[in-house]
């Protein structure tokens, strides 16, 4: 608690705010760099951690010894480890991620053609989840405050737990069998315009939306009990102003930490959903690559997914810092 005498609070405090921001920026970018390094190193190490000979495993037992040797040389696996690491780092920085074993295409090219499909899926699902979850969470919180609305409380808890538990690929399968197979309203799979995106996006968003709604409700409930909401009521503001102006920003801020984790989970969720809907993105690529042991391809996609997750986490932290200036203060 700050109880500095007033005089010492002068000019100094303003710069303390600025210093807080600077320190936050430094700390956060430091964290990001370390995470990136861990990610790159892990994807480099992946190939070396595979028991046995990864080249032989990738090419299959029928491949000639000759081919195995050439591929090994191609992957640079005969070099000393530090040199391999160095080359890998160079490759990552310059966008050279090796060549796919199956398609013989440069990994970077495959990724760039498929990234957009995955990104649009994740982004749309994210927007949908937030648009569904926040209003519902807020409304339910307001209606179920202090033991009111027992039935709604129970119904909401039950529905959101069940929806939050159903894995996205199962939602996908169910939706396909109802809307595509049963009603023929929407395509079964592929990426052929808006209508083909509806089911994948909904499958991806539904579970996270349910979880997010619960988080928002809980945070909203606790925010509604705070002293500053009482102050807002003491100021005789309208209900809309109290809920939307004073409570919601705090509830959203408080939901952001958990919500961010959930969103990055959604990025990973594309892997399964793309497989259900034969969506030509990175998710279906990584699955098929793992199955055929196309290691360079797997390495590349893992890197991209990892970066996506780190990007989301960073965005969430920055958003938090802007919404709640206290969070830049080092505790």
């Amino acid at each position: 608690m700050t109880t500095l005498p007033e005089t010492s609070l002068g000019q100094e405090f303003l710069s303390a705010g600025a210093r807080g921001w600077l320190r936050f920026a430094l700390r956060r970018s430091g964290q990001l760099l370390v995470s990136l390094w861990v990610l790159v190193t892990a994807s480099f190490a992946m190939i070396h951690l595979i028991p046995g000979d990864p080249v032989r495993a990738a090419l299959g037992i029928t491949a000639s010894q000759e081919l195995v040797e050439t591929t090994r040389a191609q992957w640079g696996l005969n070099d000393p480890l530090p040199l391999q690491y160095w080359h890998f780092l160079q490759g990552v920085l310059t966008g050279h991620l090796g060549t796919s074993i199956t398609s013989r295409l440069p990994v970077a090219d495959v990724i760039s053609t498929r990234l957009a499909a995955t990104a649009e899926l994740a982004l749309a699902a994210f927007v949908l989840a937030v648009v569904i979850a926040v209003p519902i969470g807020v409304a339910v919180a307001v209606r179920t405050r202090r033991g009111r609305g027992r039935a709604l409380d129970l119904g909401f808890a039950g529905t959101s737990i069940v929806l939050g538990t159903i894995p996205d690929f199962l939602v996908g399968v169910t939706l396909v069998s109802v809307f595509s197979v049963g009603l023929h309203w929407l395509p079964v799979g592929g990426r052929t315009g808006m209508s083909s995106a509806i089911l994948p996006v909904v499958s991806l968003a539904l579970g996270p939306a349910a979880v997010l709604a619960r988080i928002v409700r809980v945070e909203m409930l606790s925010v509604l009990e705070t002293d500053y909401v009482r102050t807002a009521r003491a100021k005789r503001l309208s209900a809309a102003r109290i809920y939307l102006g004073h409570a919601l920003p705090n509830a959203v801020t408080a939901s952001l930490t958990l919500g961010g984790l959930m969103l990055s989970g959604m990025v990973a969720g594309t892997v399964l959903v793309e497989s259900v809907f034969a969506w030509p993105g990175l998710g279906s690529t990584i699955v098929s690559s793992i199955l055929v042991k196309d290691y360079p391809m797997v390495q590349g996609v893992v890197l991209v997914y990892g970066c996506g997750v780190l990007l989301i986490n960073t965005i969430c932290d920055v958003a938090l810092a802007i919404l709640d200036p206290r969070s830049t203060v080092v505790r």
């Binding site: 109880t3 303003l14 202090r146 069998s177 009482r230 102050t231 969720g269 892997v271 200036p325 206290r326």
Partner: protein, 681 residues
């Protein structure tokens, strides 16, 4: 077992446990009963659609899919539990490592865990699946490893929490090694939350596993789990959607069984730890107050008139029948221990009690009878004329909005000012409450203010319009001693210069006595005495008198100045017959315990019979009398009300009655020892 019973008592718990029993039962029994059927190849019935013989149809070898789905329970559950085991074990090792390894290494482990936690489990899972290879054993380890960081983080947090406790420190000082302290004292204490998390974790593992198998990365033929069955079913979804949906249904049921069981257990923990809103102090305990307007009307204009005010919550009545009038510029103090109902009284007057709380009686403010559902007009009246100041100025400001904005909002909403004009007013008000450099301060967030400044800003917010009543609930309790006086002086000067009536709610009798003209003493929701501040030395109610004697000295912890009276207020939920103060009252007798005293005007203005303490207190009494004389005041006269069967009878010296003590003749002078050196600044 007790825990289990309580789990069963909730609807959620029943549903969860039932599902869990079904799933585990299937896992054990299905392979025995249906194993043969699930393996029977029927070439005449390949890829059959659902029928009465095969409810879900058959697969490409003619095997019954329902039987296969049921039989798959065992493998699915076993694999999920194995993966959970890997997660928990690894999580415990990583999570308790910081406690074992010492500072540096520990921090490294924590940092790595923190980085890993940020990656979604499925991604980690795919990463490990590449390393361990496709197949069920690989998948167990991949999922187990992927889940480990979450457990490690939880375990670390819990361990860190337990490590703070005294007995752990004691065990350490007693020479326990890190490992033995961990095993003997720390781990047992984190077992419960870890079990909850592991149960929920088993659900997630099951879902993830079905996902991996569905992708073809988990269980491989000829073995089959639910995910594998779904994988095979998806290819035929056009012909037989049930082939994919049936195993999916089981996945959901099993996942829910584990998740809900965890949730149900967790809920019970929560109930124990955080408590319901009722127990968490939103409803203080009970008091009631009935002071009536006697005395000190200084100005003719009545600002506030409270008549028989009560506050009810289900099963509790924390405020019982309080009445008083308040005049322009008058200062009324409401004192009592925490839980006496003071705060609720303030909130009730301000119409800020929320359901399920119910306010009874009448509150007439500036001629308007206030209602809890008062409309637009009442909102405007209260928003401009009644200001509130709460105990903790930090939590009372919205942390994410600028201070100036929060002040300006009042004028924008109630006075129709534009953003700009309102902001100017806010800056002006900040200056009025003596905040230096108000232009810059208005731009800042509350956390950039010091405690005293925040409280002054809060008062400034009350002054945005033109208040006629200011209710201040423990306005200085959360503040540093050095700034308490500033805030109280500010309230004083506002009151005198703007003729604002003040209700000062406090647990501190001295403070209230110094700052107010009139005092209402509350006990357990009731008013026990209503008197002018001058009359404090001749207070008549035993409680007030004991409070006076308990006035803190410099050595007293100001946070608990009332602790000196032995005992505690009755629980608010208990219905009391007789006087609520009886259990703690040295004068209590049978009448007190059987019939409740009413608040009545003080019988006579005479002083009380002195007890033998009167002989001993010469020094302080002299000083008291001296002060009164120097102040040019005449002997205080009690013209208020008191609720006591034995008002003004002498108090025994200790809490034990001393019947043999000699009585001295009555004296009109106060024998009360008020130590003026004390005090709340």
């Amino acid at each position: 077992m007790d825990g289990l019973k309580r789990v069963i008592r909730t609807p959620l718990g029943v549903a969860a446990l039932t599902m869990l029993v079904v799933v585990l039962g299937l896992a054990i029994l299905a392979p025995w009963l249906l194993g043969a059927k699930a393996a029977t190849i029927d070439t005449n019935n390949l890829l059959a659609l659902p029928s009465s013989a095969h409810w879900v149809g058959t697969d490409s070898l003619g095997r019954d899919l329902l039987a296969r789905t049921l039989v798959a329970t065992r493998l699915s559950v076993v694999l999920a539990l194995s993966a959970t085991l890997v997660s928990v074990t690894l999580g415990l090792i990583l999570g308790s490592a910081p406690a074992l390894l010492g500072h540096r290494l520990g921090r490294l482990v924590t940092a790595i865990v923190n980085i890993l936690v940020a990656f979604p489990g499925l991604l980690l899972c795919l990463f490990f699946a590449v390393i361990f290879g496709v197949g069920q054993v690989g998948a167990v380890f991949a999922i187990g490893l992927a889940g480990a960081p979450t457990f490690a983080r939880l375990c670390h947090t819990l361990v860190a929490g337990v490590e703070e406790r005294d007995y752990v420190a004691a065990a350490r000082i007693a020479g326990g090694s890190r490992a033995s302290v961990l095993v003997r004292h720390i781990l047992p204490n984190i077992a419960e939350p870890m079990v909850v998390q592991a149960t929920i974790g088993a659900g997630s593992c099951l879902l993830t596993f079905s996902g991996l198998s569905f992708l073809g990365l988990g269980v491989q033929q000829p073995a089959f789990d639910w995910g594998r069955l779904m994988n095979e079913g998806l290819n035929r979804i056009y012909l037989n959607p049930l082939a994919a949906l049936a195993p999916g249904l089981f996945v959901i049921m099993a996942g829910l069984a584990f998740n809900l069981t965890g949730e149900a257990i967790a809920r019970i923990f929560n109930v124990e730890t955080s408590g319901s809103w009722l127990a968490s102090g939103v409803v203080p305990s009970q008091p009631g107050v009935t002071a009536s307007a006697h005395g000190i009307a200084r100005s003719d204009k009545t600002v506030l008139s409270v008549n028989n005010l009560t506050v009810d919550f289900p099963g509790v009545t924390p405020v019982r029948g309080l009445s008083f009038d308040l005049h322009q510029g008058e200062a009324l103090g409401i004192v009592g221990e925490s839980g006496a109902g003071k705060t609720l009284t303030g909130l009730a007057i301000a119409q800020l009690i929320e359901p399920p709380g119910v306010v009874g009686g009448d509150v007439v403010f500036l001629g308007e009878t206030l209602r809890s559902d008062g409309g637009e007009e009442q909102r405007k009246l209260l928003g401009t004329s009644m200001a509130l100041v709460f105990q903790d100025p930090l939590s009372s400001f919205n942390p994410v909005r600028r201070v100036g904005e929060q002040l300006a909002e009042v004028s924008r909403v109630h006075q129709g000012m534009t953003r700009k004009v309102a902001w100017k007013r806010a800056v002006d008000r900040l200056r009025a409450v003596r905040i230096s450099d108000p232009e810059r301060r208005a731009e800042q967030h509350p956390h950039e203010f010091s405690g005293g400044m925040r409280q002054r800003a809060m008062i400034g917010m009350g002054l945005m319009a033109s208040p006629t009543l200011l209710i201040a609930d423990e306005p200085t309790t959360a503040l540093d001693v050095t700034v308490q006086k500033q805030v109280l002086d500010l309230l004083d000067s506002i009151r005198t210069s703007e003729q604002v009536a003040l209700i000062l709610i406090s647990h501190d009798l001295t403070l209230v006595g110094e700052r107010c003209e009139r005092i209402i003493v509350m006990y357990a929701g009731r008013v026990v005495e209503d008197l002018s501040a001058d009359a404090l030395p001749v207070a008549q109610h035993p409680y007030t008198r004991l409070l006076m004697e308990a006035v803190p000295t410099l050595a007293t912890d100001l946070d608990q100045p009332l602790a000196v009276i032995p005992g505690a207020q009755p629980e608010p939920s208990i219905e009391i017959t007789g006087c609520a103060f009886a259990p703690r009252c040295p004068l209590a007798d049978d009448i007190c315990r059987t019939s409740s005293p009413t608040l009545a005007p003080v019988a006579s203005a005479s002083g009380r019979t002195r007890n033998k303490r009167g002989l001993d207190i010469t020094v302080q009494t002299t000083r008291m009398l001296l002060r009164l004389n120097l102040g040019g005041k005449s002997t205080p006269v009690h013209t208020g009300r008191v609720a006591c069967w034995h008002a003004n009878e002498p108090l025994p010296e200790t809490s034990q009655l001393d019947d043999t003590s000699p009585s001295l003749p009555a004296s009109t002078e106060s024998t009360h020892d008020v130590d003026e050196t004390v005090v709340t600044p």
